[in-house]
């Protein structure tokens, strides 16, 4: 939302605004499908969240089921599995930020040092590609490549690099989180660098020329010209990323995990899916989902407020 409060509606006040609907009936009709959509498919489910405070019975429906207060939340926090999922969500997300967030920046900086335009173009085209594949396809590729029996990666590790035994990347709790983080980087690093590359290409060449005149080496130019120019973008991206810390990557985890790695890989979203649609514990899993969404909401609002303060404008 822009901060255009000085528009026509304001002048007449809220109530007087209703006269406008008749005058703008054509525009109203155009907006109507959108509003109907949001009410049915977004706000009705939000109202459905009340079942987190009820004991949902299929026959009674959401409205007719009895209220039970915070029972499901208390049950969740007494559940080891939920606490494990909460912990995994924060740890996996945290690691993805810690290790994964700097990667597109490094990638953009490396690419900026390449002088051959043709090579640059090839690197960009190839590195963006995995982003456009679904996690279903990428998980299929990874299953094959990382297989402990005849996967290419384990072949290279044992035959070329002298590892004693094959590593079960997707079935061993010691490696599962690492596999998640590295595969996430592999899939998204190229695409994630687009914004940084664009920011770098917007830096005035005069700054670099001036730096050269002052005798700055290439590394010094990177450190004192390129990085400072990138800093505002980096700050905003980092803050936004932290705001979505409760999303540890459902598509990825769901397509890669199995019961052997629930201990390190089961996140809140996958837990909600299994409890809700697998075991039909509708009320309980809604409560867990609501808990996650509420925290996510607070984080996003808070991080946007911070961005606004730093940048003068938030994302909305």
């Amino acid at each position: 939302m822009t901060t255009q409060t000085a528009g026509g509606g304001k002048r007449n006040g809220f109530l007087a605004g209703f006269a406008g609907y008749k005058k703008q009936y054509a525009l109203c009709l155009m907006l109507l499908p959108t509003i109907v959509y949001f009410i049915i498919f977004k706000y009705v489910p939000m109202a459905g969240l009340m079942m987190a405070f009820k004991d949902f019975k299929i026959n009674a429906g959401i409205w007719g089921s009895p209220w039970v207060g915070l029972k499901h939340f208390e049950k969740a926090f007494a559940s080891r599995t939920f606490l494990r999922a909460l912990e995994n969500t924060i740890v996996i997300s945290g690691l993805k930020i810690l290790v994964g967030f700097p990667m597109p920046i490094i990638f953009a900086l490396l690419l900026n040092e390449v002088r051959s335009l043709k090579y640059k173009k090839i690197v960009q085209t190839v590195s963006y590609l995995p982003h456009f594949l679904s996690w279903v396809v990428v998980a299929g590729l990874l299953n094959q490549l990382l297989s402990p029996n005849n996967g290419a990666v384990n072949y290279i590790l044992t035959k070329w690099l002298g590892f004693e035994k094959a590593l079960f990347f997707l079935g061993d709790n010691a490696y599962f989180r690492g596999t998640l983080i590295v595969s996430d980087i592999w899939k998204e690093v190229g695409w994630g660098s687009v914004l940084y590359i664009a920011t770098i290409s917007g830096i005035s060449p005069e700054l670099y020329e001036a730096a050269v005149c002052d005798g700055a080496t290439r590394f010094q130019r990177l450190l004192h010209v390129t990085l400072p120019a990138l800093l505002p973008t980096i700050t905003v991206m980092l803050i936004l990323r932290v705001g979505s810390v409760m999303d540890a990557g459902f598509d990825q985890v769901f397509n890669l995990y199995n019961s052997a790695v629930y201990k390190t890989g089961d996140i809140i979203d996958t837990y909600v899916y299994r409890e809700g649609l697998g075991d039909m514990k509708y009320s309980f899993s809604t409560a867990v989902g609501l808990f996650k969404n509420a925290i996510g909401f607070v984080l996003v609002v808070a991080t946007n407020a911070i961005t606004k303060k730093i940048n003068g404008s938030g994302i909305w």
Binding site: M1, G17, V44, E113, V114, G140, A152, N255, F297
Partner: protein
């Protein structure tokens, strides 16, 4: 300012090339596997050159009716879903782009709020069930029809168009909707193309809605058929109707079949991708403009 090649240059190129190799070799390896007979595919290792190549894997994948049904369903949902979403979103965005639209800020807030808070999995599922949409084509289209993000981006674009052109059209007697169709939309081709591409990729790659809303296997999209073959390891999706037909495919292997299935399903993306890539890059810049 030409400088001499330093060790740093070499290092940069090595790192980038290694990364590019990890992407390219993954695809080459899978491609070779998909042409490999069983005894080669199960041998393990990195396959970069076909040994005793065979088309059996592809023959078996292409014989599965689910692959073809999946293709049909995916293409249908991509076409219908993209055009419907684009049209509805553009109309809504256009209405909200007018500063004189009554209570515009409140309507916008109603939409934008959904970007940050949602009912979540179970309430959404129950809604689709209660609407009687389970196992219908509509369950792949309606629940995600309008994205608040796309709407805001389009609204911003419409706001940047000069009002005078529309006004002159309306003075000529064209109605609001007519003006929208014949003046506003043609002027907005860049943003329409960008959002259409986003929507199309989203629909092509979507799998979760099908997984939870659809149980009828003939309505499965390609991604879900692929998921069954690749991840759940269900070979049933590839099974031929006649048992003795299996004997024709002694050369096929699970590894090769998975590779073939991946390429059959991803080929359209791999073909179109090089040509549309730059539009996506442009799109990211549009999206990064502040809302």
């Amino acid at each position: 300012m030409r400088e001499k090649v330093s060790w740093a240059d070499v290092l940069v190129h090595i790192i980038l090339t290694l990364f590019i190799f990890s992407v390219v070799l993954t695809f080459v390896h899978m491609l070779v596997l998909s042409f490999s007979p069983g005894y080669v595919a199960t041998k393990g290792g990195l396959h970069l050159w076909p040994e005793d190549p065979t088309l059996d894997n592809y023959a078996k994948v292409l014989k599965s009716k689910y692959i073809w049904l999946g293709y049909k369903n995916t293409i249908l949902r991509t076409l219908v879903g993209t055009s419907l979403s684009l049209f509805i979103t553009a109309m809504g965005a256009y209405a909200l782009s007018k500063a004189y639209f009554p209570h515009r800020a409140y309507w916008t807030l109603l939409i934008v709020f959904t970007m940050f808070f949602s009912g979540g999995l179970i309430p959404n599922y129950l809604l689709v069930r209660d609407l009687g949409l389970l196992d219908t084509f509509a369950s792949m289209i309606l629940p995600g029809m309008v994205s608040a993000y796309n709407l805001v981006i389009m609204r911003n674009y419409f706001q940047s168009l000069p009002e005078e052109i529309e006004e002159s059209c309306m003075i000529d007697g064209a109605g609001r909707f007519r003006t929208f169709i014949s003046v506003v939309l043609p002027l907005s081709k860049p943003i329409l193309a960008t959002v259409a591409l986003w929507l199309a990729v989203g629909h092509w790659n979507a799998w979760f809605d099908v997984l939870i809303y659809i149980t009828d296997e003939t309505r499965f999209t390609l991604q879900v058929v692929l998921r069954r073959i690749l991840i759940t390891g269900t070979q049933q999706m590839l099974e031929s109707t006649q048992v003795q037909e299996m004997n024709d495919y002694l050369q096929a292997s699970p590894e090769g079949l998975k590779g073939a299935a991946i390429f059959v399903a991803t080929l359209p993306i791999l073909c179109v991708y090089p040509f549309v890539q730059r539009y996506f890059v442009k799109g990211i810049m549009v999206g990064s403009l502040k809302g």
